[in-house]
Amino acid sequence: MAGPRKREHWGSNIGLILAMAGNAVGLGNFLRFPVQAAKNGGGAFMIPYFVSFLLIGLPLMWVEWIIGRRAGVLGHGSTPGAYESVWRHPIAKYLGIMGILFPLVIVTYYNYIESWCLGYSILSLLGQMPSLPGLADTSVAQVLKPFSDFLSGYMNAKTLMGGQVVIPSLPAYLFFLFTFILNIAILALGVQKGIENLAKFAMPALFIMAASLVVRVFTLGAPISSDQTPLSGLAFLWEPQWSALLRPSVWLAAAGQIFFTLSLGFGAIITYASYLDEKDDIALNGLATASANEFAEVILGGSIAIPAAVVFFGVVGAQEIARGGSFNLGFVTMPAIFSSIPFGWVFSAFWFGLLFFAGITSSVALSQPVIAFLQDEYGFSKLRAALTLGVFLLIFTHIPIMLRGAMDEMDFWAGTFGLVLGATFEVIILMWFFGSDMAWEELHKGAAIRVPRFFMYITKFVTPVLLIIILGTWTVMDIITPAVKTVIQQGFLAWLRGFLGSGVGVWAGRLFMVATAILFAWLIKLAWRGRQTQGGKG
């Protein structure tokens, strides 16, 4: 095992913030946020959203920066070593499995979705997207049919084994391979030359493309009907429905959105913060990262897709589209809208281009925890770590690509449940085991701003309680209640049959996650044993 080695550092302050913002700004800012806001009370949704930002988002953002910078100073860039750097307990490093397992599982399918954005962007430029049949006197579903057919043909050119195995189209697979190789190449270049340079180019490009699209949407006028204008689109998103505030599900949706949008609980922020020096500011940089993400989400993300959908399909149509989910909005509705405006192919390319940039800056961040683990704990070079990850991903990405149901299963456990679980542990470890006063002292080392002390109490008492409530509610709502309902209505055997017969893809996803967790536990054990042996010899 490797001895102490010189770790990489960020090249500039602005590069660091852009990379951190790139990690946070993802597809969810432009697709998930407007759908969530529209479905959960419009303007009233912003109240629980901002409350969650202050009570969960911002405190966790600082928690991850504190843990990350401290771990980096002690020579660790991934959560096994990072948790141990703030909690000297033998189990701490094993809890850290979450911070390398979850991002790895997510990136296994995220690269593929990211490649759709690149594919759609290029196909838009080449004029290969379907065209709109006409908007008059037809239902939204009929109007969008050519575009939903195009998407399903792109993803599932052929199915085998009764639909359980899916073969993507050749362009989809080629765009995936290109995206995958690009990701690995950026990771192989390292933090400064790879990730930081990507962020310095991709983030300004993303903001410029998003701003261009906002201007275009605001100047759409009323091409279908005089009461379907961009302003009515904004009204649909911002008009408060006060009754929504009384629904716990709205508060839960807002807290969940803050979690996903700030990329908390992944381990990626901890890894990025580990490339800082002990006296580098984390208080202002953490806040700046969160604010850049919120700007991209609330101002830009809320002003493109939903207002455009209202202009072309009306409020009722937009509601139906929002109920169809984020992918329906991004990959079916938006191409349909662009196909009916002058130079729509340019704006379509911009739309999918910005989603691609949002995606790639997040996917390299999701990959970096494993790279850091291999570099710091096993002494791998940048190239060797990137190639190792590349070979692993190239094999196992085919599970979510080709097996139906695997992606949803992996997304639920790693991309939804896992994040809250990871964040709950990290805030407890830092604020209770490491100590809140010491954590606050760490936050203010080299700080450019002073964070009000009441945030310390919020982070120590309020944030963990809220996380436990979210975790408990999700466990009851999404795992226990459906199972109990089936057992009561159909009996235990019916539930067991349903569980065991979930499909090849679902089981492949579960097996992949469990096997990878065991692999990481073994790798951690080996690395720490090697370090002990070296320490003993020394």
Partner: protein, 37 residues
């Protein structure tokens, strides 16, 4: 859009926009960290 919708939108955009520009003003003009640029 009703006055409540306008109010939510202006306050929402105002809070987020001000925070964003204040942070980047501070980052770009504040003290420089110990980065090896």
């Amino acid at each position: 859009m009703s006055w409540q919708g306008w109010a939510f939108m202006i306050i929402g955009w105002g809070v987020v926009g001000s925070l964003f520009f204040w942070c980047f003003y501070k980052v770009l003009t504040g003290k420089k960290g110990n980065y090896n640029s």
